[in-house]
Amino acid sequence: MTRQMTGAKMVVQALKDQGVDTVFGYPGGAVLPIYDEIFQQNDIHHVLVRHEQAAVHAAEGYARSTGKVGVALVTSGPGATNAVTGLTDALMDSIPIIVLSGQVPTFMIGSDAFQEADTVGITRPCTKHNWLVKDTDKLSSIIHQAFHVASSGRPGPVLIDIPKDVQFASGEYTPRPKAPVGHYQPQVKGDLDTITALVEALENAERPVFYTGGGVINSGPGASQLLRELVEATGVPITSTLMGLGAYPASGKHWLGMLGMHGLYEANMAMHGCDLMINIGARFDDRITGRLDAFSPKSKKAHIDIDPSSINKVIKTDLPIVGDVAHILEDLLKVWKARGRKINREGLAKWWRQIDEWRAVKCLTYKPSETIIKPQYALERLEELTKGRDRYITTEVGQHQMWAAQFLGFEDPNRWMTSGGLGTMGYGFPASIGVQMAHPDALVINVAGEASWLMNMQEMGTAVQYRLPVKQFILNNERLGMVRQWQQLLHGERYSSSWSEALPDFVKLAEAFGAKGIQCKDPADLDDAIMEMLNHDGPVIFDCLVEKHENCFPMIPSGEPHNKMLLGDAKATNAIAGKGAVLV
């Protein structure tokens, strides 16, 4: 049965067929027909954001917390250009989202029409793939194909640009099962010979370590389950990148904590000293490796990744395995079990004794205060008071983000939404809205800095309109904390433009939007204030006034290897020098 319908109706129909229940968007001239169709149905819930960037971040939060594809809808021209940051963010962090953008009618393309922009041209480098649809007959199959491309292989953002005349015109609707998915079929099964070689290396290794990343989360809950089984069965220590937190539980006894520039001492030392590094779904990002020529010098490296271009991109890999994490871990466990569950117990016991010595350094120690709230203390209390709850955390970008990664514990995947690759200030608040839409009854907290938070503060309107009880936990140091820290470390304490002047009164700001505001500046009041935030049924801005010049440690100064970590303030001033100074 063929069905004729308008392009606009096709969009809504195709989204329904794909199981979409929520779309984040902002209307405008070039998407009016689609908004008209959305108005006339009840299956898809449209969330009106206050800025298109927020629509994309909300879709990312939705996608990251559910494993489903997030959807954003924006108009042509400025609507599309505002979406660019979110698209780039999703590309860097491999988040599956679809952005539908309106476009001026086909006969006006190229005429510099009102609100015209070359959207597919602008977004080509910041999407996994994009389409300009010039024919209504092709629209529905392109949308179905877009879902396939966004969610298979290494996930990522895609964009479909739909001219207004294509939305008005009628065409034939292609239902989902009939839509050709094209030739894009990434490899999911790993090479068995290399997997066997990895098992052999694992059996003999004296100092092995698992280094896991966002790929485990993207591979689905099954991958995290297999990872847990593998770690428990082998007893091998495990660390993770920022993006991979939650794949292995923070309470697990083999957990070393996050690695990287602000990772834990024991995690980084284990990476530096290991003899077998098993990278599962991570990409040797520069935040992880530090100085390349001194990166884990004595180890054999295995790399499991679904994207062949990640292999040997920066670090030479001895055992590359291209495929999906869950498939490969399944095979890996099978082979390991079939070969007799062997592991170098003696070597591993010695390795753990060494790791325990590193753990004893207690690298997250900070100087407590009874008069001022230390940001670390604020997060420790937040962790304590929310532990065990159905909790989702988003963050903005900066010191607070790193402290959140260090001091909050994640027991499950898809509970931690943060902008890792692009480092987008302003990500966390809209992402928390997306997460709350997907999980209406869950506790959703955005750990923020005041500067990042202000970048998308207009979303208070969205939170209040849809009664989304998102908690904005702002660690307010009246500084761009990470910038200030780098200026201290690199630029002789000349704090150029790194303070927040003329800050709003956050309590009044919350009230102005019709939400609740709480301010806390005394450590003695903190627990009560946090409980007040948690118990309030509605959005809250929590203005937590913290120590202004606290630095985020431990830290690998740029240009240094893992074993040259800074543990405290003692040597911090001008700690970055030489070639490291040009790095970011």
Binding site: G121, R124, H129, P308, S309
Partner: protein, 187 residues
């Protein structure tokens, strides 16, 4: 996967590839990419090269399968072995790319380029130009009393050599297509 795991025919310079993966040696490679011929596909490929800082020495593109809407892009690029591997992997990621082959690494191939060269002059120089064109099997495709346009096909170095010879004889303009290439044999 030690350095001694020898892969036959992986370099045109030797039967065996014993190079360290992260060597600094710059190599020229001819890469052929089969793509779905849809709007913007060339921009995707070129954007990849400019965005990631890879070199393009020459590039040719045309639809080669009209029914299947497939185009073949032939790119000559220069880089270290690691960069060449990255280029191939990155090209393979593009959704509209069907197939990527490194002709330089995958055994012998045929590379051809077409050039048009305008040579002006009269008298002895004109005769000499015509004589050399004959040696290079270049054809005269346009002629006036004071000029020739030669058409020449061949490997890029043959075209370079011909251009070098024509320069003192009055070469004024050159147009080249860039390299088109296919692997030899059945595959």
């Amino acid at each position: 996967m030690s350095a001694l795991q020898i892969k036959k025919g992986s370099s045109k310079h030797s039967a065996y590839n014993l190079r360290p993966t992260f060597s600094d040696v710059q190599e020229a490679h001819t890469i052929t990419v089969l793509v779905e011929n849809e709007p913007g596909v060339l921009a995707r490929v070129i954007g990849l090269f400019s965005g990631r800082g890879y070199n393009i020495d020459s590039l040719t593109v045309a639809e080669v399968d009209h029914e299947g809407h497939l185009s073949r892009i032939t790119i000559v690029t220069t880089g270290t072995p690691q960069v060449i591997e990255q280029i191939k992997a990155q090209l393979g990621r593009i959704v509209s790319v069907r197939d990527v082959h490194d002709l330089t690494a995958e055994g012998s191939s045929v590379e051809r380029e077409l050039a048009l060269m305008k040579v002006t002059g009269s008298g002895e120089r004109r005769v000499e130009a015509l004589r050399l064109a004959d040696i290079f099997r270049a054809q005269v495709v346009d002629s006036t009393l004071e000029s020739f346009i030669f058409q020449l096909t061949g490997a890029p170095d043959k075209i370079d050599a011909f251009a070098d010879l024509m320069r003192p004889l009055g070469l004024v303009q050159v147009a080249r297509t860039g390299v088109a290439a296919l692997s030899r044999g059945q595959s």
